[in-house]
């Protein structure tokens, strides 16, 4: 994963371009170790070395994309790139004009490298298996290097490297109740993680109490940061995208049209100062360090990429092709951690949510399940775990009239997904007390 090799690769391929041809490409590469465990034992262990490079080739008013593997071998990469360029030239002849093609330009250079100190295999086995003996411990450790890079034929260059780890885990009780945890970072601290595990073991005790089955209906709830994170994820799936609005599938439409507002307490932004993901997008555009999306409950802007901007003749704001949030942040409020249960008084403490989906996207209504350690709270004290409940509720209720208070602390929750490759990015979210949260099953 050498930046110099990548830049040399780019210079070589750009030197082969003819007049009228332009090329932008994105590199995605990783060397990852995945250690999967169940019942405190090793289920699967997999090492992956992979890379791919996506050519975005333009000739005149036509556009074509081609993705090929990119390995650590410069000679093989050069051969593949040469062949790929030939294919680009062949294919583009057949294609119609691209009405919303964005001409390439040099949007600058950037280098960000976040080196880390990853655990050795001995440290991994000691922490995951020796310190959890006798416990029903399940999940995955993922660690290694990730690279995202971009170059174009106008001279633009971006490079982002992150060395990091994530232990995404759950502890289960004999009664099938679970506590969820995530230990993630760049510098492994075995003692810190051991302490987290010890705390988790203590918290398991409350989960051993008999569960309470609640009737469907409306309850006051505390959405812990991990639970709120699931709802924020939904906003990137037909919520904050301008293109989604124009295509008629946007949960923020009523907010955009001024028919509804969120609570003045609610502020949402893209905040790249978190350092979780590259600031450049697939065109090499640098996003603003902070972009406010919702301010005091009112929509400031949706995410707009350059292609959308050209189609609808508006201004782009550095969004990715997908127009989803890459590094989102919800502003904190005033509720102190020690006051959460008192503020909730009688209601449900929701630590996590599961499998969300829009039940009526036009009205911003979504459904999902409670998951892991969720509790019934009475007189400001945690009483018992609850049987899982299904909710069906509107964003305009959750973040609008029913939003009572927001915690004065937030948690950084990195993306842990690994479909095809390990994800980058994440979010910083607080907890929230919400009234009349609607449970339906």
């Amino acid at each position: 994963m050498k930046r110099q090799n990548f830049e040399k690769f780019g210079e070589d391929i750009f030197s082969r371009l003819k007049e009228g041809e332009e090329l932008n490409f994105n590199l995605s590469m990783e060397q990852s170790l995945f250690v999967r465990f169940n019942e405190g034992k090793s289920r699967q262990v997999t090492d992956v070395a992979q890379g791919n490079i996506t050519f975005n080739y333009q000739a005149g008013d036509r556009t074509y994309k081609y993705q090929i593997p990119y390995t650590g071998d410069p000679q093989i990469n050069a051969q593949r790139a040469e062949r790929a360029l030939d294919i680009c030239r062949e294919k583009i002849k057949e294609l119609p004009a691209d009405s919303f093609q964005i001409p390439m330009e040099n949007l600058g250079e950037s280098i960000e490298e976040f080196a880390g100190e990853l655990p050795t295999l001995n440290q991994v086995t000691e922490t995951l298996f020796e310190k959890t003996k006798g416990l029903d411990f399940v999940g995955q450790l993922a660690m290694g290097n990730q690279v995202r890079a971009n170059m174009n034929s106008k001279g633009q260059k971006h490079w982002f490297l992150s060395e990091n780890f994530q232990v995404d885990y759950s502890f289960y009780t004999d009664g099938q109740k679970a506590l969820k945890g995530l230990y993630a970072g760049r510098n492994w601290d075995g003692e810190k993680f051991s302490l987290e595990l010890e705390n988790s073991k203590k918290e398991l005790e409350i989960l051993k109490k008999p569960e309470r089955k609640l009737e469907r209906g409306k309850y006051k709830v505390y959405l812990a940061p991990a639970a709120l994170s699931e709802i924020v994820d939904m906003m990137s799936w037909g919520g904050v995208s301008y293109s989604a609005l124009k295509r008629g599938r946007c949960a923020f439409k009523m907010l955009h049209d001024g028919e509804k507002t969120f609570s003045p307490k609610f502020n949402l932004s893209e905040d790249f100062s978190l350092g979780l993901t590259p600031k450049f997008n697939d065109r090499g555009e640098i996003s603003p360090k902070e972009l406010c999306l919702v301010k005091d409950g009112k929509l400031e802007t949706l995410l707009i990429n350059s292609r959308t901007a050209k189609e609808y003749e508006i201004k782009a704001n550095g969004a990715s092709a997908y127009e989803g949030m890459r590094s989102s942040k919800i502003d904190t409020g005033e509720l102190e951690k020690s006051s959460v249960l008192q503020a909730l008084q009688d209601g449900i403490y929701i630590s996590n949510l599961h499998y969300l989906n829009w039940s009526d996207i036009q009205k911003g209504r979504l459904t999902g399940m409670t998951r892991y350690a969720c509790f019934w709270v009475e007189n400001g004290e945690i009483k018992t775990p609850i049987a899982d409940l299904r909710f069906d509720e509107s964003l305009y209720n959750i973040f609008g009239q029913n939003l009572e208070s927001i915690t004065n602390f937030g948690e950084i929750i990195p993306h842990v997904g690994s479909y095809g490759q390990r994800s980058l990015g994440g979010k910083e979210v607080p907890g929230m007390i919400v009234n009349d949260f609607h449970f339906t099953l």
């Binding site: 990852s32 995945f34 999967r36 169940n38 090793s42 289920r43 997999t46 090492d47 992956v48 070395a49 992979q50 890379g51 996506t54 556009t63 074509y64 994309k65 081609y66 993705q67 593997p69 390995t71 071998d73 093989i76 294919i87 294919k91 057949e94 294609l95 119609p96 691209d98 009405s99 919303f100 295999l121 086995t125 399940v138 995955q140 993922a142 995404d168 759950s170 099938q176 679970a178 124009k246 295509r247 008629g248 599961h354 499998y355 989906n357 829009w358 039940s359 009526d360 459904t367 399940m369 998951r371 899982d388 299904r390 509107s394 690994s418 479909y419 095809g420 390990r422 339906t440 099953l441």
Partner: protein, 474 residues
């Protein structure tokens, strides 16, 4: 260009009790036309190899796209190192019997190869189709999408396995969104299957396009779906989700064993339920069938070399067998199937669905409609959610029809329903005959740590369920 796997395997050297190489080579073509204009014209090519070793009863995996002999050798050494290091903490001591000898070749039943149409011709086909979709002034968005995928998997092992799986896959979708005042509705048609370019029949695409345009316009004026407990008649393009989420996933034995509890979830099904649990009514017959020609997840061998055969999972409503590959079978003692599959060269195989089908019954569509006093007829999934034990589900559909006194009445919008898996399947009241059967598939079943999206197929007739909680939009 494919690799000389025999030669690579010979050069790896000692140190493992068993070794396999699984090479995957995939070429994809994607064309997306929106509102008559090209939005994406893309190819992707990937080629890599997974080295799997068995050392001290532990499987170790190392995937690489460095396909030089040195690159594959490095992966082999890494896989051995990992297997050895983690063997003392192994969840189960496996041996070579977990990788049976498999030899053969499988090819999709495609008649017209993908190279018989250029990308330009595909653009023309989809553009003309898309133009028809967008003619009404109410249509604010129309798209036509096609993805062609040629995948070749080659597997070789030190105990004599050597097989090849060639799959030609087409994913396609037409979609229209219409707006009138504040009302916005979407209607779509699509599928994924192992098929060749013979699928691109202009008459069929035009007819389906015309139908979804007609239906989306109907939805703009339609009343909300009523909210009450009533019968539901479920079309195959919604049955795909119903089978997938509330039968397929709960029967995965790795879920039952707890492997997925930190991500996809557990299961309400226990080991003791096999042979005992009345999962559904007597009319419910569910098969695992990777031999169904043209269905999306058809193959001869899974990624551990187990021969794929049609098998009943549920017969006359009784749960018989789980969706467990050879490793899960050994760990659990539950009879399983050939479903240990990996999404690509860079992931290890885990228990997946493949083709899970609901066998046709004997009722005609007319008979089922006549049997309904008050109910809704549901088409095309648009929303899906279920809990981590696979009990409490809620699904939404694009399009519905009200049924009263045995007759199909007007169109209704925003139909949703919710229920709990086994009570719901025990309310299965009538199962459509083969005239109502459709074979559907999706390329995006997600599961596993690390995550894997895999292709699954679900053939189903139209089915009638009694006493379901139905509701409309906000």
């Amino acid at each position: 260009m494919s690799l000389d796997l025999n030669n690579l395997l010979k050069k790896l050297g000692p140190g493992a009790d068993w070794v396999s190489l699984r090479e995957v080579e995939e070429l994809g073509t994607r064309v997306f036309i929106r509102n008559g204009r090209p939005e994406a014209n893309e190819n992707h090519f990937e080629h890599g190899i997974m080295v799997e070793v068995l050392v001290d009863g532990k499987f170790g995996h190392a995937g690489t796209d460095d396909l030089t002999p040195e690159g594959v050798k490095r992966a082999f050494e890494r896989a051995k190192e990992l297997a050895k290091k983690f063997a003392p903490y192994n969840i189960f001591p496996f041996d070579k019997s977990s990788r049976p000898v498999a030899r053969g070749k499988y090819s999709s039943p495609a008649k017209m190869a993908f190279d018989k149409m250029s990308m330009g011709e595909i653009n023309d086909f989809l553009s003309l189709t898309c133009d028809r979709l967008g003619k009404r002034e109410e249509i604010i968005n129309a798209h036509a999408h096609l993805m062609l995928t040629d995948t070749i998997t080659r597997f070789i092992s030190t105990n004599g396995s050597e097989f090849e799986t060639k799959q030609n896959i087409i994913d396609h979708e037409l979609s229209v969104t219409a707006k009138q005042g504040n009302e916005i509705q979407t209607r779509s048609w699509g599928n994924a299957a192992q098929v060749g370019l013979e699928l691109l029949n202009r008459d069929i695409f035009y007819a389906e396009g015309d139908r979804i345009v007609r239906e989306v316009i109907e939805l703009l004026q339609a009343p909300e779906c009523p909210s009450e407990t009533m019968d539901i008649l479920v079309a195959p393009d919604q049955m795909i989700l119903q089978i997938h989420e509330s039968i397929g996933h709960p029967l995965e034995v790795d879920r039952i064993l707890g492997d997925e509890r930190n991500y996809a979830g557990w299961s309400f099904v226990n080991k003791e339920d096999f042979g005992n649990l009345k999962y559904g009514s007597d009319l419910l017959n569910i098969t695992f069938d990777p031999t169904f020609a043209g269905e999306l997840a058809s193959y001869d061998f899974d990624d551990t070399g187990v021969k794929a055969e049609k098998t009943f999972l549920i017969k006359n409503g009784l749960l018989l067998r789980g969706l467990g590959g050879i490793e899960s079978q050994k760990r659990s003692g539950i009879e399983g199937v050939a479903n240990s599959r990996a999404s690509s060269w860079n992931r290890a195989p885990i228990d997946r669905m493949a083709n899970i089908n609901l066998e046709a019954g004997s009722s005609s569509l007319e008979d089922m409609v006549k049997n309904i006093k008050r109910g809704v007829y549901l088409f095309t999934n648009r929303s899906w959610s279920i809990d981590d034990f696979r009990n409490k589900f809620q699904f939404g559909c694009e399009y519905g029809k009200l049924i009263e006194d045995g007759e199909i009445k007007g169109t209704i919008k925003n139909p949703n329903y919710r229920g709990i898996s086994t009570p719901f399947w025990n309310n299965l009241n009538m199962v459509g005959d083969t005239s109502t059967l459709e074979v559907n598939g999706t390329s995006y079943c997600g599961k596993g740590e690390p995550n894997q999206a895999i292709r699954v197929g679900h053939a189903s007739p139209t089915c009638l369920f009694k006493d379901v909680e139905v509701f409309g939009g906000a």
